[in-house]
Symmetry: C2
Subunit: 464 residues, 2 copies
C-alpha cells in the first residue's frame, strides 16, 4: 500500500442516507422537476428576522474577527439566560446554567464531534437509543469510536427498556449514554421517569450522559420535553450527576437557522474547557458575526416567548395534515404519532426494502412533474434488518404540500408495484408481518406505572 | 480511573500560545488598558466591502439553509476562477483548478484538521518545515497523529535543507510533508527550487504534499510566492504528483475575514470527495450565507486585481515602519526581513526565556497606560530549546502604532532588566550567543546555485 493512503476512519465514512437523497433531489430540481423535499430537516420557515437585522448591523462595523474559541460572551450569556428562562417560565425545577457552562460550536454536529473527540479514545463506545440520527455513527467515527445501540420499538411507543435490560449493552469500553429527546427520527419525548432511568444508569456505571436536545422547542402535543437538566435525585447523586451531564443544542431548528451553523455544548466548566480545546483545534472558532446574530435571537425569544408558541402551531398544523393524508392515502401504513421534533416515521409493512421504492419515486416517477424525496429509515438503526420497511418524512413544507406529497407517495407505490410486476418481481416481503417483541429478541419488562409518559405516542394506522 | 475520563488526545491539547496571550490582552483591554495586539494574525484592515453587501442581500431572502457538505457551487467555482486568474495574470504556468478540485471548510484550521483526519491513522506522522504555525500540532493531535519537523534557520534565510538532509526525518509512519509559504511565522517564501525539492521528496517516498498557502497574496518584497501548483516536472512525474498535492487556503487574511471562517482544500476530485466526508462528519457543512458572501469577494478581486496591490502596499508600509523602529529602539535584536505574510520574528540574543519578558510587558508594564502583546516563539519549534529567545510580532495595526509598540517594547525591556536585578536575578543567558549551524546539529549543504530565491531574506540587525 502506498504511504499516501487514506486513514481507516476516512475509508469507513459514508455520506448519510439523508444527504444522498438530497443530492439526487437537488439534481432533479436543477433539471426542472418539482420535488417536495421531505427528506431533510431543513424547514421552509423563514429564519427569525431579528437575526438578519443583527448581522446587518454588525456588518456595518466592517470587521469580522476571530472569536474566543469557547464562544462569544454575548452569546454564551444569552443562551444561558434563554435556557434558564425556558424552564422558569414553566415553573420547572432545573439545574441553573451560567455562561461558564456554555460552549459555542459550529452547529450541533460539531458539538457532538467535539464531545466524542474529547471523551473517546480509539475503540471506545458510545451507547445510544435506537432509532437515532444516522450521522452519530460518523461523528463518533471521527474519534475512532464505535456506536452501540439500545433498541426501542414503535409498537411500544419507543419506551426505554428497564435499567437491567439496558445494562446488558454496557461494556468496559462504554464512555457515555447518548439520547435525543424529542427524538429525530421517532418523535418520542422521553418521560421524566425514562430520563431519570438513564441518569441512574450513567451514575451506576460512572459514564457520561449526553442529551441531544436540539428539538426542545418542537413539541407537537401537550407534553413538554423533559430535559436532563430537570432530573431530580438525592443531593449526593445530583452532585455526581452534574459532573456527568453533557447537553447538546443548536440554533438551527429553533430559529430556522440551519445555515448559521451555531450549536452548543452545556456542561460543567471543566468539561466545557476541555471540549473547547477540541473546538479550537478543529475549527479555531465559530464565526463572530453569526454568533452576534444568534445572541440577539435568544434575547428576542426571552422577551417574546410567543415566538415558540407560533412555531409549535406551524408544525402541529403540518402534523395534522400529514396524519390526515396518511389515513386517507396510506391507510395500511404503520405511523406512530410523534410527541415532538418534526418528523413522521412511516412503516410500509409489506415491503422488503423501502430504499428501492424511495429511489423509484424520486427518480422514475412523477405526477404532473411533481415528486417526493423522503429518507429510507434503515440508517436510523444499528440492529440488523431494522428499518428496512420504514421511511422518515420531515414536516418542513406547508400542510398543502405535505398532503400533496403523501398523495404522490401513494400513487408512486401503486406504480412501483406495477413496475416490479412487469419485471417479474414481487414487492411483498416473503415474511411480511409485524414482528412481535419476542421476534426482535426483546422482552418488554417495562414497569406499567412508568409508562404514562408514553401515552401521547400511539400507533395511528394499522396493518392492511 | 472513572470510565468518564477525557480521551488521551484531549488531555494533550493545550491552548495555543497565541491564544493564551490573546486572553490576557482581552482582559486588560476590558479593564481599560490600551493594548497593541501584535500577538495574533487578526488584521485591523476592514473586510472587503462587497462581502457585506452580498450577505445583506442574501439575508433579505430570509433563508439560511444547510449547504452541500463539499461547499456551495458558486463559491467552489469563484475560488477556482480566482486561483487560475492569480497565476494567469502573472503569466505563470500552473495546474488548472476546476470547481471539482475545491472543498469549502470552516477556515484553514478546519481544512487542515479534516485533511489530517483523512490521511492519518493513530500514530502516523506529518513532517513539517520548522518554524511552523503552532496549532498544526493540535490539528494533527485531533487525528491522533504526530508532528515531526525539519529545522530551518534564520541565519540561513530559512533555506530548506537538501533532499538528503530532509530524508533523514522521514519514517515508515510519515504520511505527508507540510509546508507554509509565505511562512507564518518566518515570512520566508520558498524558492521554486525549494518547492520543487519538496515535490521530488514527496514523490520519492510516495507521500502527500500539503501546501498551506493562506498568505499567497501577502507578498512584502519583489518576489511572488511560488505555489505547489506551479511545480514543473517531467510528464510522468507530474501525473503522479497531481495525486499527491493538497493545497490549503483561506479567505481570512486575503479579505480580512477572519470571522467568516471560510477555508479551502484544493486537490484531486477523489481526494476532495474523501476529505468532504470528514467535513460532513465534523461540522455537517459551512454557513451558506457566508459562503455566498465570500464567493462575491473572489469574483470581485478577479475583476479588480488592484485590491491585492493595495493590500500589499498596506502591509509593506507596516513592515518598513517596523524595521525602522527596530533599528532605532532595539538595534541589538536579530530580525530577518520577511518575504511575505505579515509577521516579523525578533530574536533577543541575551535573554534566556522570552516568555517571562512578554508576560512582564503585558501584565506589569505600561507607558501612559499603553502596552503591547506579542507571541513568544518557542511554540513555533519542535526542536528542543529553539525559539526561547524569539518572539513573533504581527503587523496588524497602523505604522504609527507599530512604531509606538516597538518603543514600548524597548522601554519594557529596560524595566524588565531592572525588575530582575531587584530580585537578584540575571537576565543574561549563561550561554548567550548566536548559535552556529554546527551547534544546531545541522550542516548547510545548500547548493549555492539554489539560493537565489532566498536573497530577499537577510538578517537586518546584529548581535549587540
Amino acid at each position: 500500500m502506498s504511504p499516501a493512503h487514506f486513514a481507516r476512519r476516512a475509508e469507513k465514512l459514508q455520506p448519510s442516507s439523508i444527504r444522498k437523497m438530497m443530492i439526487i433531489a437537488k439534481r432533479l430540481i436543477s433539471e426542472g422537476r418539482t420535488v417536495f423535499e421531505l427528506n431533510i430537516g431543513q424547514p421552509d420557515v423563514p429564519c427569525i428576522p431579528v437575526f438578519l437585522d443583527a448581522i446587518a448591523a454588525r456588518g456595518r462595523e466592517g470587521r469580522l474577527n476571530y472569536a474566543p474559541f469557547i464562544g462569544e460572551n454575548c452569546l454564551r450569556q444569552a443562551y444561558a439566560r434563554y435556557l434558564n428562562d425556558h424552564f422558569d417560565r414553566r415553573g420547572a425545577q432545573h439545574l441553573v446554567v451560567d455562561s461558564e457552562n456554555v460552549l459555542v460550536t459550529c452547529g450541533a454536529s460539531h458539538a457532538l464531534t467535539s464531545t466524542f473527540l474529547s471523551i473517546c479514545d480509539p475503540g471506545d463506545e458510545i451507547l445510544c437509543v435506537e432509532p437515532f440520527f444516522p450521522p452519530y455513527t460518523g461523528f463518533l467515527g471521527i474519534a475512532d469510536g464505535v456506536l452501540r445501540s439500545i433498541p426501542t420499538y414503535a409498537e411500544q411507543g419507543f419506551a426505554l427498556p428497564t435499567i437491567e435490560e439496558m445494562e446488558r449493552y454496557i461494556t468496559p469500553k462504554t464512555r457515555a449514554l447518548l439520547f435525543t429527546s424529542p427524538s429525530n427520527p421517532s418523535g418520542k419525548i422521553l418521560s421524566p421517569q425514562e430520563v431519570t432511568r438513564l441518569a441512574r444508569l450513567a451514575l451506576k456505571f460512572d459514564i457520561f450522559l449526553i442529551a441531544d436536545e436540539v428539538y426542545r422547542e418542537m413539541v407537537l402535543g401537550d407534553r413538554e420535553a423533559f430535559s436532563i437538566l430537570q432530573v431530580d435525585l438525592e443531593p449526593a447523586e445530583m452532585e455526581r450527576l452534574k459532573h456527568r451531564i453533557i447537553v447538546i443544542d443548536s440554533a438551527s431548528k429553533a430559529f430556522s437557522l440551519c445555515g448559521a451553523r451555531i450549536g452548543f455544548v452545556i456542561s460543567r466548566p471543566e468539561i466545557i474547557q476541555k471540549i473547547s480545546l477540541v473546538n479550537a483545534h478543529t475549527v479555531a472558532c465559530v464565526s463572530d458575526i453569526l454568533q452576534h446574530g444568534v445572541a440577539v435571537a435568544y434575547e428576542h425569544v426571552i422577551k417574546n416567548p410567543s415566538f415558540f408558541t407560533e412555531l409549535r402551531r406551524t408544525y402541529r398544523e403540518r402534523l395534522e395534515a400529514a396524519m390526515e393524508a396518511i389515513h386517507k392515502y396510506l391507510p395500511w401504513a404503520i405511523v406512530p404519532r410523534p410527541d415532538g421534533a418534526f418528523y413522521v416515521m412511516i412503516q410500509f409493512p409489506e415491503i422488503e426494502d423501502i430504499t428501492e421504492y424511495c429511489l423509484f419515486m424520486l427518480e422514475k416517477f412523477n405526477v404532473d412533474n411533481e415528486t417526493v424525496a423522503v429518507t429510507p429509515a434503515a440508517s436510523f438503526y444499528l440492529s440488523p434488518g431494522r428499518g428496512r420497511n420504514e421511511m422518515r418524512l420531515a414536516l418542513v413544507v406547508s400542510p398543502e404540500k405535505i398532503k400533496r406529497s403523501i398523495f404522490i407517495m401513494a400513487e408512486a407505490y401503486k406504480a412501483y408495484k406495477a413496475y416490479l410486476k412487469e419485471q417479474g418481481k414481487d414487492i411483498v416481503a416473503q415474511n411480511s408481518r409485524r414482528l412481535s417483541n419476542n421476534d426482535r429478541g426483546y422482552i418488554n419488562q417495562e414497569n406499567p406505572s412508568d409508562c404514562t409518559g408514553c401515552a401521547g405516542y400511539s400507533v395511528e394506522a394499522i396493518v392492511e
